[in-house]
Symmetry: C2
Subunit: 242 residues, 2 copies
């Protein structure tokens, strides 16, 4: 296939940069491996019906007061007064089955809501990696992989996940890329793919990972292909793409 006939896949490292990248794309895959988009996929895998992503704790509180199940995380911790944060394990309970959950997180829900203003949004993570790749290979379109980052900054795990999607889409022969960020994400993915957990642990002295002390959560978030769900944003909420 000629390069000009291919679809574009590119990587944007942070929601802060989204305005620079957002032209030209039919859809956006929002990625927050640690832990919002992983938790969203885990929640659907375990029977949640719908997730309403909101950007502020206040919005989540307003929903909670109306009787919704509400989850709020800031800086890695469950916000006081909420039953859930963004640990994927918190959704592995019969309590959530068939329910609508309202969710706000430090980075992930912000990325989702920024992209949803103008684009179709899919939810990507390592745990549903192959589902994202399969969908975009079967129904190719110009797609931007949007890393949520950490407080607006570049982070490794989202970039590696974006690099994994890009690598597979380019290998499918249906996609090409032009941005340096996309090339960098693919290099990082190839460096990390043998052992995501080992790579992050060995390469990162990051205070946030040390402080979170969430080894079990992180191992879950970094284990690819645990679910086939592909959440999509529709009419103000996330649902599973059928």
């Amino acid at each position: 296939m000629d390069r000009k006939e291919k679809y574009r896949v590119e990587v944007c490292f942070s929601p802060d940069e989204f305005d620079r990248y957002k032209q030209e794309y039919a859809s956006v895959v929002a990625i927050d491996v640690l832990r919002a988009t992983t938790a969203i996929c885990a929640a659907f895998e375990h029977g949640v019906e719908k997730i309403i992503p909101v950007s502020t704790v206040e919005e989540a509180e307003a929903y909670r007061e109306k009787g919704y199940l509400a989850a709020a995380e800031r800086n890695g911790q469950i916000v006081e007064g909420f039953a859930f944060g963004n640990s994927p394990y918190s959704y592995m309970t019969p309590e959530v089955k068939g329910k609508t959950v309202v969710l706000t997180t430090t980075n992930g829900t912000r990325a989702i809501n920024i992209a949803a203003k103008t684009h179709k949004v899919l939810i990507g993570s390592l745990i549903n990696l192959q589902a994202v790749i399969d969908h975009l290979t079967e129904q190719p379109e110009n797609v931007l992989l949007l890393a949520s980052g950490w407080q607006g900054k570049f982070n490794l795990e989202d970039s590696i996940c974006a690099g994994a999607v890009t690598d597979a889409l380019i290998k499918s022969g249906k996609y090409m890329s032009d941005e340096d960020s996309t090339i960098a994400a693919m290099f990082l993915y190839r460096k990390a793919r043998e052992n995501y957990f080992g790579f992050l642990k060995a390469s990162s002295h990051r205070r946030r990972l040390r402080n979170l002390n969430l080894n079990e959560d992180i191992k879950y978030c970094l284990t690819p292909n645990q679910t086939e769900v592909l959440p999509v944003y529709r009419d103000g909420a996330l649902v599973i793409l059928k």
Copy 2:
């Protein structure tokens, strides 16, 4: 040396993100390998006395009308009416010796001026790589390496240059880093260091490099350690650090 006693070196991939990173640093190294900071170093190497970086073409025109040597580049081209752009070769002429040059470029001068509002600014490139490393090793301080990027977006060459500085500073034993962007920059540097030109050419389909058709310029910009000058921003202009 204990980690806590070390100085910090970190990498910021774009001036758009500078606000997220700018705390905690005593100085900023502005990097625009293709081509502004390389041209600045080349100009000093060839006898320019002082460079006034301005952010807009209008400002450069105003200086030109007052009789200054003025250089203006936008999107890789010399702006009409100006004698110089940002090609390092344009400064390799006796005409510039001892002169003050006013310079505006698409990405590089913007990064310099954003950082200079709040920080001491040094000028880094591959052609003065060792000079930057030597200075920061001899006079360690918390330092942020600021990539100019391309129209606000991540670019490989600035990130690789920043990774080269980081790698050397951390090896000196006097520095540590905490940001994922810094780790990523070091990985990219290690991937590219055997052959910067080959790496960029092989890995990048970028339209901008193809369109610029500047192989000679790019080869010059990607050849490390051609000069020992270390430009620094002082009182509104760049001069050589003595």
